[in-house]
């Protein structure tokens, strides 16, 4: 990552080294794999959605510090959310909440997880 706020940078590194919600849910209601071919990063999410609410979420994956940390942070945030709320998370807002300037390429890394979750949310919406 680039020029940034020390505290936020610490947060990213912490999530990278100790990702939260890391693993798989056994019988998820939804699952998705999202990848970034530019760097080969891949994230796999398993989610339990009940009554349009995210009850549980886990991920596994491989990637750079930014994509892994963003996935970890995002799982913490969305747990318990309504899926329509997930759909409404704006990219700029999520990026801003990470607190460091990423630049155009690494923004894609950071948004990998958000894109995945939006696809899950959109898919659920379509079905209902």
């Amino acid at each position: 990552m680039n020029v940034g706020n020390e505290g936020f940078e610490e947060m990213i590194l912490d999530h990278y080294r100790n990702p939260r919600n890391y693993g798989r849910i056994e019988h998820p209601t939804s699952a998705i794999t999202e990848y970034n071919p530019v760097c080969g990063d891949a994230l796999h999410f398993t989610v339990n959605i009940r009554n349009s609410r995210i009850e549980d979420i886990k991920f596994i994956g491989r990637g750079c510090s930014v994509s892994m940390a963003a996935a970890s942070i995002l799982t913490e945030r969305v747990k318990g959310m309504e899926i329509h709320e997930v759909e409404q998370i704006r990219e700029e807002v999520f990026l801003k909440s990470l607190g460091i300037y990423l630049g155009p390429v690494r923004e894609k890394c950071a948004l990998l997880s958000l894109n995945a979750l939006k696809k899950i949310a959109g898919g659920k919406r379509d079905e209902s």
Binding site: V38, C39, G40, D41
Partner: protein, 421 residues
């Protein structure tokens, strides 16, 4: 021999920005001589070429055609009209794929190598829909082209051989003269992707004996948006035109058209004259340094980095490509620790990076914090990455303005990073 510190002074960006620029395989910085040539054209001679009777247009036409002559001479063409101006290597290879493709039939084969850039793979894959088959010559353990394997893949269905002169990932230099002579003996059209060669070593297209040779201006100190497709006169002559429009025609009626001679036949529409003029200035700059010297300079840097690699034994550092610098351009692709290969299928709970491994993005970002610019990713050679069992690498690549001190800075930064993250 030239002094890279002196050279660097000619590059405004390198003195204004505090950067060790090591992404030269992607694109190169511009010396003031090139920038000034472009400005001079804009401020004193700008006009359209070829059809104007007025003085400005005559000057522009003259500059454009003189640029063609100069660049043609630089790559060893006897005849300036054997140089077609294109946007870049990619366009040159697509032009060839479209034009030669019309001659191919189902079952015909195109022979490439496993180290090709996407630009020398995807255009040929477009022809697969008509039943054309693509085969890939293998690499040796050390990352060089396995010439025996290539030769064994030539058969009577082989119609086109297209190989890179120098790999943009491994740096491997291919024996293109030898390969083109195999091609000639077997009646195969031979194409060389010279994007990484023309900027870095003496290249003589006539001597190589290929039918077609492609290169990009922006990788050799020139502007973007200009490049060359060089060819044998008769090979270019036989090629049907790629794009239609102004400049490339002889006559047009509502019913049909006839085409101009080579090279204009392939230059439809208003050309990038400032690009050609800038590239010609770039060629003058390189000629003054001497391409043999440029090659020697990069070989020395490469040897230096390989020596440092041995001496410093940076934890988990691994690099790719031949160790013999006489067969290698100034490209250094590397990783810290094991990188998984690109695959969507094989994720597992412990598929995070192995202990001590650092993702190439993180390496590049950390180097950037220290003012060092390197690339990370697949370098437009995903199939080769797959072959190496990698999703991505970091890559440092050198040019005339990089000196040993740049390499030293780079390696000590790597050492620091390998201990860190």
């Amino acid at each position: 021999m030239f002094d890279s510190e002196e050279v660097k002074k000619d590059f405004p960006l390198l003195s204004r920005r505090d950067v060790v620029y090591l992404d030269n395989a992607a694109t190169t910085q511009k010396p003031k001589q090139v920038i000034e040539a472009v400005i001079d054209y804009y401020e004193n001679h700008y006009s359209n070429v070829h059809r104007g009777i007025y003085t400005l247009s005559e000057e522009a036409t003259d500059m454009y055609e003189k640029a063609r002559e100069n660049i043609a001479r630089f790559v060893g063409l006897r005849d300036a009209s054997s140089l077609v101006f294109v946007r870049n290597t990619t366009e040159a290879l697509n032009l060839l794929s479209y034009s030669l493709g019309t001659r191919l039939e189902s079952g015909d084969e195109i022979l490439l190598t496993e180290m090709e850039h996407h630009s020398n793979i995807v255009p040929w894959q477009f022809l697969q829909s008509k039943g054309v088959r693509i085969r890939y010559a293998k690499l040796t353990e050390s990352g060089l082209l396995d010439v025996d394997d290539l030769v064994s893949k030539i058969n009577r269905r082989t119609k086109i051989l297209s190989v890179s002169h120098v790999s943009n990932v491994l740096g491997s230099i291919n024996p293109v003269k030898e390969l083109c002579s195999y091609a000639r003996d077997n009646g195969i059209v031979s194409i060389v992707d010279g994007a990484q060669a023309v900027p870095h070593m003496p290249v003589n297209v006539d001597e190589i004996g290929c039918d077609f040779y492609a290169f990009s201006g922006h990788k050799m100190l020139g502007p973007s948006g200009i490049g060359g497709l060089a060819g044998k006169p008769e090979a270019l002559d036989e090629l049907i035109p790629f794009m239609g429009g102004g400049e490339m025609i002889r006559t047009v009626t509502y019913e049909s058209s006839t085409y101009a001679d080579v090279p204009l036949k392939f230059e439809a529409g208003t050309p990038n004259v400032e690009g050609a003029v800038g590239l010609s200035a770039a060629v003058n700059y390189l000629r003054r340094l001497g391409m043999q010297n440029v090659k020697k300079h990069e070989m020395d840097l490469m040897q230096h980095i390989l020596n440092l690699e041995d001496e410093m034994s940076i934890r988990n550092l691994r690099s790719y490509g031949p160790r013999d610098v006489t067969h290698r351009g100034g490209v250094y692709a590397f990783n810290i620790g094991n990188q998984p290969s690109f695959s969507v299928d094989d994720l597992s709970e412990d598929s995070t990076l192995a202990r001590g491994a650092i993702h190439p993005h993180d390496i590049a970002a950390e180097l950037n914090k220290r003012g060092i610019a390197v690339r990370s990713g697949h370098h437009c050679a995903m199939p080769l990455m797959g072959l190496l069992g990698l999703a991505a690498t970091a890559r440092a690549s050198f040019y005339i303005y990089n000196g040993k001190s740049d390499v030293d800075l780079f390696m000590s930064a790597l050492l620091e990073i390998s201990r860190g993250l």
